[in-house]
Symmetry: C2
Subunit: 408 residues, 2 copies
């Protein structure tokens, strides 16, 4: 991609109406724009990151046998009535000009349970799991944390259906393992944290918490083992001994990037979702519900991977792998174009800063935008290319052939 | 994919609450489910078709230099106030619990124009074009035509920005050519039809109309040349001579699958979207707006490609290329599994009907679901496979090696 053609521009300063690092850096870098409070436009650079996040999520969901579908945002009142979740305070509810009442979907247990009742009837239909990557809406009173708490955001929600609790427990562990893989591939370290189920369930649930100052949750975790609890339910305090291994308990702000819930039969009871077992008896289907937030992950990556100069994208999600910088001089343009075309042909994702602006501005933008590699061509580099990894101070001067080999 | 694992089931009969062929066949085939009037769930089979439609659209949009982004569904009242489109009768409008007023985006000229004003400032920034594939909402009074007129649907909307009308006219033709390519790749024949611009513009616009009984539009077209006009503005009637070539004028119902609008400066005026030319003068940006509907295309394909037995998907969008049918008998399972695994390994999209149901039910479902090829393995076929194209009556009995070669 030619940077001169990119439908975004970096800003010289941070936006004044944002407090969160993720929103400040993403807006300044031209990744997103605020449309209204808590509502954002994803510009081409951010959409590339989101697509990569979504692809990784899809791969790991498909790997555990989940099938993708797409549910609507308009969820009629009759669904929420059945589960007694009409007039939930986080829902945008409204009446259409023709009298139908809807809530914009902030979750989809109701729709999926109602629909699954048409496809699940026998023990032979179980277990089953379906997911979607879809836009959710929540009426947040004050959206001040950028993409970490949006009023409109992307969610991957997965629902599983089982004949008994044992099957659910088994799949629950598979989803936990899949979420761990997803987060590892995305470069995020998350603590699996016990938490209360909120409006969803009375059982404890598990949250995937990434330690970060911007996080809205407070967790208490053991520095030695995997013990971790959300403040809401924590039985330990800062400085306590871990009940599991005796190690030190510490506290930290954390961002909840994913969660897993055992729903039991709450929704299958409400929507007559039942199956006939081998002996002919009917039983309610046992359900699980699992969420991971692509737009929140995008924000979390920025919160975790930045320095005073800008974003440092993990390689798996960088919008482009390499940012080619031309410092204009005799012969630089043709050399840049040659390398740009060779890398493109080799399938390497490359952003080429062909703009007629100063070297300082180009370097500053390259740091702000945070692609994994910066390749500089100037009169000074001669026939070679100066290559540097974002976040590192080490330069190497290599031939175009070596560059192609290294970045392929 | 193993059909026994597919999270959908075909129905024995057509749904009673649907009138349109597209909804009847798609629901009976387990492609979609109605969530509420005009609102549908896209099940795994339909999502595969939609993904293929979207991929083709993206390829052709990228080929004309358009960049993908993603705008929100929550569009604040202030945007519509500026363009005087608040209280449009097709909008779902509502007030949040905190007093903000929104309309669910039924189009995005407002958001894109407002945002483009931050990125377009000089003649050097023009021309530019951006698009999104995103969920739109329209408060349809009576949604009776299945996916052809949904209250929630997918839209690919493209917006272009120009320094002058000449540049717009040029790009307008490029988009028309791109839309023609998209529809051709999808197997649809569309007539480019003159129409009024409705709420969008006072100029004539162009619609891509696919002739079909289910179409809600009436068009008058020439059987000899490309003359075609929407009833709203038609200067000819059935049986007239074509004003362009003298050929016969006929009328037909038609489905509008895409449209192109020259917006001029209506939205750039409203949102202060202007640029400085080479001489330092400011001018409003000249805009175009172009839509093509992936979910409506899905429905149109079903309306056009069906027979009394079911759907006949064009090869480019069939959920799976081949439907492997096992008629249970001695040795059939191992032969089916071998071919299934070989085809999967070769990258061929295959649905394997491994269910324990009658041959008649399997054949009926294969016709209903409409994959391009049906491959049958039974005791009767011996070491060979019976291959048949959906919609054709011609069978061939070929070896597994030939099958692999033909379907790769």
């Amino acid at each position: 991609m030619l940077q001169s053609k990119l439908f975004t521009k970096t800003l010289k300063t941070f936006p004044k109406d944002e407090e969160a690092i993720n929103a400040k850096l993403l807006i300044r870098g031209g990744f997103i724009r605020k449309s209204s409070s808590g509502v954002y436009v994803y510009l081409p650079l951010a959409l590339r990151v989101l697509d990569k996040i979504n692809r990784i999520i899809r791969e790991e969901m498909n790997a555990i046998g989940a099938q993708e579908l797409l549910m609507p945002a308009l969820v009629a009142k009759e669904y929420w009535d059945k589960s007694r979740r009409w007039h939930t305070d986080i829902a945008y509810e409204f009446k259409s000009p023709f009298g139908e009442e809807f809530a914009l979907g902030w979750t989809h247990e109701e729709v999926i349970s109602s629909m699954a009742a048409h496809f699940i009837n026998s023990y032979k239909d179980l277990p089953a799991a379906v997911y979607q990557i879809q836009t959710k809406f929540r009426a947040e009173p004050r959206a001040k944390n950028g993409l970490l708490r949006g009023r409109e955001f992307l969610m991957k929600d997965l629902y599983s259906f089982h004949a008994d609790k044992e099957s659910l427990d088994n799949y629950y562990q598979q989803v936990i393992a899949a979420y761990q893989k997803i987060l590892k591939r995305l470069g995020l370290k998350a603590r699996i944290t016990e938490a209360s189920g909120g409006a969803f369930t009375k059982e404890y649930t598990h949250e995937f918490q990434v330690l970060a100052p911007a996080g809205e949750d407070l967790i208490f975790y053991c520095v030695q083992c995997d013990f971790s609890q959300n403040k809401e339910i924590a039985i330990v305090q800062n400085g306590n001994r871990c009940p599991k291994c005796g190690g030190d308990i510490q506290s930290s702000s954390a961002i909840e990037v994913a969660n897993v819930f055992k729903l039991g039969t709450r929704y299958s009871d409400a929507f007559n979702l039942a199956f006939t077992d081998e002996k002919g008896s009917r039983h309610p289907v046992v359900m699980g519900s699992y969420g991971i937030g692509p737009t929140r992950i995008l924000a979390t990556l920025v919160e975790v991977y930045n320095d005073p100069k800008g974003i440092i994208w993990p390689a798996a999600v960088a919008p482009y792998k390499v940012h080619l910088i031309e410092i204009r001089g005799s012969g630089t343009e043709s050399r840049c174009k040659r390398i740009y075309n060779q890398l493109k042909k080799a399938g390497t994702e490359i952003l080429y800063d062909d703009r007629d602006v100063s070297a300082g501005e180009k370097f500053a933008d390259a740091d702000l935008l945070g692609m994994s590699w910066r390749a500089v061509i100037s009169e000074k580099t001669g026939a070679k290319v100066e290559l540097k990894k974002r976040g590192s101070e080490k330069f190497s001067l290599i031939s175009p052939t070596q560059l192609l080999k290294q970045l392929k």
